[in-house]
Amino acid sequence: MTRFVLGRIGFYTLIAVLLAFFTVPLLWLVTAPFTSDPTYEVRVPDFTWDNFAALLEHPYALPSLWNSVVLSAGTAVLVVIFAALAAYALSRVRLPGRDALLYALLLLSSIITGTAAMVPLFQLAVELNLIDSQFGLILILTGGLLPAAIFMLKDFMDSTPKSYEESARVFGASPLQIVRDVVVPLVRPGLATIAVWAVANVWGNFLMPYLLLSDVEKQPAAVITYTLYTEGGQANLSMLSTFGLLYSIPVVLMYLFVSKKYGFRFHGGIKR
């Protein structure tokens, strides 16, 4: 009995520490936007809406959020569809050198997300006439994210029992039907995870959108965030914190939606 009580106490202490660890850094984000002249100090706000009013007048802030949505949703959709098909094929059909290929692509993908790749990517975009095109940027971002997405999804695919597909196959379902009716629903939590992961990656990406999109009306919020500085490079904290809050809300909503609708887990229940 004491062991049980101690266990409970230990559990809730741990949870409390975790909650504190993950909450305290966020305090600034929820107080600064409502403070008149925010500094780095977390203070009880004076609950002003002036910062939001100022942001509403910003010519690019709100449109840039929409651009962020377009870029990240577009990338997430492409990543999920292409990665799911590829991961399924690679999971089910053994091609020679498959694993080595995946590892090699994964390693290369780390190079492409680094700073050093900006020149090749820029010039590639120029050659393919994809400069200043959101679609082009989506393709480039998708290419960088696909290997890791395939890698993760293949894991999900590998761990789904094959009898589901065989069953559907005996009933006469075509491979595409099997993917649609059986595989996709089974790995839906995996797909949701990948989608959120892709969105989070694109949502915060600054360098590539900045370099590849010249037209400010196409630039995402990450780029606009960087503009909220003064001539001398000083952060405009009232704008930054306020925009930061608005900038964060869509991803939080997306997470809540996805986790409610699909959950981030496998379906349990069937014992194997």
């Binding site: 500094t39 780095y40 007048e57 910003h58 010519p59 690019y60 802030a61 377009v70 577009g74 900006m118 020149v119 820029f122 010039q123 120029v126 006439n129 400069i131 200043d132 095109s133 959101q134 679609f135 989506i138 360098l207 900045y210 370099l211 010249s214 037209d215 400010v216 196409k218 780029v223 606009i224 960087y226 503009t227 909220l228 500085y229 003064t230 001539e231 001398g232 490079g233 000083q234 952060a235 405009n236 704008m239």
Partner: protein, 463 residues
């Protein structure tokens, strides 16, 4: 989705090739009657960085220029391409654009980039791009020699100057009064600065002197720190094509750092913080810093009672300023008693433009007295490159007048070459080492070693 709207693209590459041949620019590309579209790029954006500049272009330059061109029978539309990022990122983007034969027709660059851009072929001498008009522009006569020098590389003008600035020592008169120092303080040597610091310290000022050091502040350490001190000790980073290594002036400059930060007159930690410069502003505004070396931007943009990031309602009463003294009178560069450093922005015509003449016209239009006056009204006063305009607009601005009249004549500029950014980082590292406690001689020797690696061997370094 959206494809490119501008036509400045692949076509421009071909146009650029044609331009290279038409050396003196007599080609009549973009003849009258056709619709001409010009784009102009700056690291400025409405609602963000350099907002005033962005607004000025959108609200005044574009309509007025289009109007003026229409009066000449030309159908010109101008589009502004805003940015609002770190200078390095802006530079990267410009470089990539220019390398690929793209980019806006009129672009703003930092004067320090002129050399490396020219070496890379990203920009070309104005006469090559825009023709002989570039030399015969009547504005040149109003621009001081030194300011014109910013636009030159290997003896050729690559751009028009957009503006310039200067560095001074700011001080808090309230703190000075408490420490028994005069309100019209003007030190004549480094020792006087140190003495003032000591007095401030004994009167309880937490940070008597703030002279930027370390890598965290980046170029601010060079411009508002080691370079003015170097100049005050009679040295320059590069002279006559040779880089200065572990020279005596460098050792002297580093020695001053040692005296300030080793002697408890400065806050060594602040120099290391990623946002240390922001903090130094805040602390000055809060009355915690006695003496601060900064540019005129500090006055205009930081402690500005209306629009500053660290507003001081009583700026005009409390903040004093003085010229930066040489180590000792007459020991500064060119034998000066006082020194400063200046930078500035340039505006040039993209060699890839289809309409170089119109682009150059836009350039000169924006530097016309009317435009400059318009741009600098309503509290946006800055030092323009034109003496005629400065006389008029700086009248009500004591600090800017001070800089324009007293500081600019004795200021110095950074060498506009590709290796400079790395040399600058090496200098910043040197100051960091001194602040961290290493002896200046040792640091200077290390700097020389690093310098050799950057500039390609000891042969490029003056002993």
């Amino acid at each position: 989705m959206a494809l490119r709207k501008r036509s400045v693209g692949v076509v421009a590459v071909i146009a650029a090739a044609g331009l290279g041949l038409a050396a003196c620019g007599q080609s009549s590309s973009g003849g009258g009657g056709d619709a001409i579209e010009l784009t102009i790029a700056q690291n400025a954006i409405q609602g963000g960085k350099n907002e005033a500049a962005a607004k000025f272009i959108a609200d005044w330059v574009i309509p007025k220029f289009q109007e003026a061109q229409k009066a000449k029978g030309k159908d010109v539309t101008v589009k502004f391409v805003p940015s609002g990022v770190d200078d390095e990122q802006y530079k990267t983007k410009l470089s990539l654009d220019l390398k690929s034969g793209k980019g806006a027709d009129v672009i703003d660059i930092d004067s320090i980039w002129a050399g490396e851009f020219a070496e890379a072929g990203y920009i070309k001498p104005l006469t090559e791009v825009a023709g002989a008009e570039a030399d015969s522009w009547d504005g040149w006569s109003q621009i001081p020699e030194a300011v014109q020098g910013m636009t030159e590389f290997n003896g050729k003008k690559y751009a028009l100057p957009v503006g310039t600035d200067g560095r001074v020592l700011y001080f808090n008169k309230t703190l000075f009064a408490k420490a028994g120092l005069p309100a019209d303080w003007q030190p004549k040597s480094w020792q006087e600065v140190l003495d003032a610091g000591t007095k401030l310290k004994s009167s309880g000022v937490p940070v008597p002197i703030q002279i930027n050091a370390g890598t965290a502040m980046g170029e601010a350490t060079s411009m508002q720190g080691v370079l003015p001190l170097l100049a005050g000790a009679g040295g320059e980073v590069q002279q006559d094509g040779k880089w200065s290594g572990a020279s005596q002036p460098l050792k002297d400059a580093l020695g001053l750092y040692q005296k300030i930060y080793g002697g408890g007159l400065g806050d060594p930690k602040l120099q290391q913080e990623a946002k240390g410069r922001d903090k130094s502003f805040q602390q000055f505004a809060d009355g915690k810093i006695g003496i601060l070396m900064e540019g005129d931007y500090f006055w205009r943009g930081v402690v500005n009672p209306k629009t500053g990031v660290a507003k001081m309602a009583d700026r005009d009463q409390v903040v004093g300023y003085a010229m930066i003294p040489a180590m000792e009178p007459g020991k500064g560069i060119r034998g000066q008693d006082f020194v400063s450093m200046s930078g500035g922005a340039l505006r040039t015509v993209n060699p890839n433009t289809k309409h170089p003449k119109e682009a150059f016209e836009l350039l000169t239009f924006m530097l016309s007295p009317e435009a400059l006056k318009e741009e600098t009204k309503d509290g946006n006063v800055r030092i323009t490159p034109r003496s005629d305009v400065n006389k008029e607009i700086l009248a009500g601005e004591p600090l800017l007048t001070f800089i324009s009249e007293k500081v600019l004549p004795l200021t110095a500029y950074r060498p506009p070459v590709a290796a400079y950014p790395q040399v600058s980082v090496a200098l910043q590292e040197a100051t960091a080492a001194v602040v961290g406690g290493t002896a200046p001689d040792q640091v200077a020797a290390d700097y020389q070693k690093k310098l050799e690696g950057i500039v390609g061997g000891a042969g490029n370094i003056a002993s």
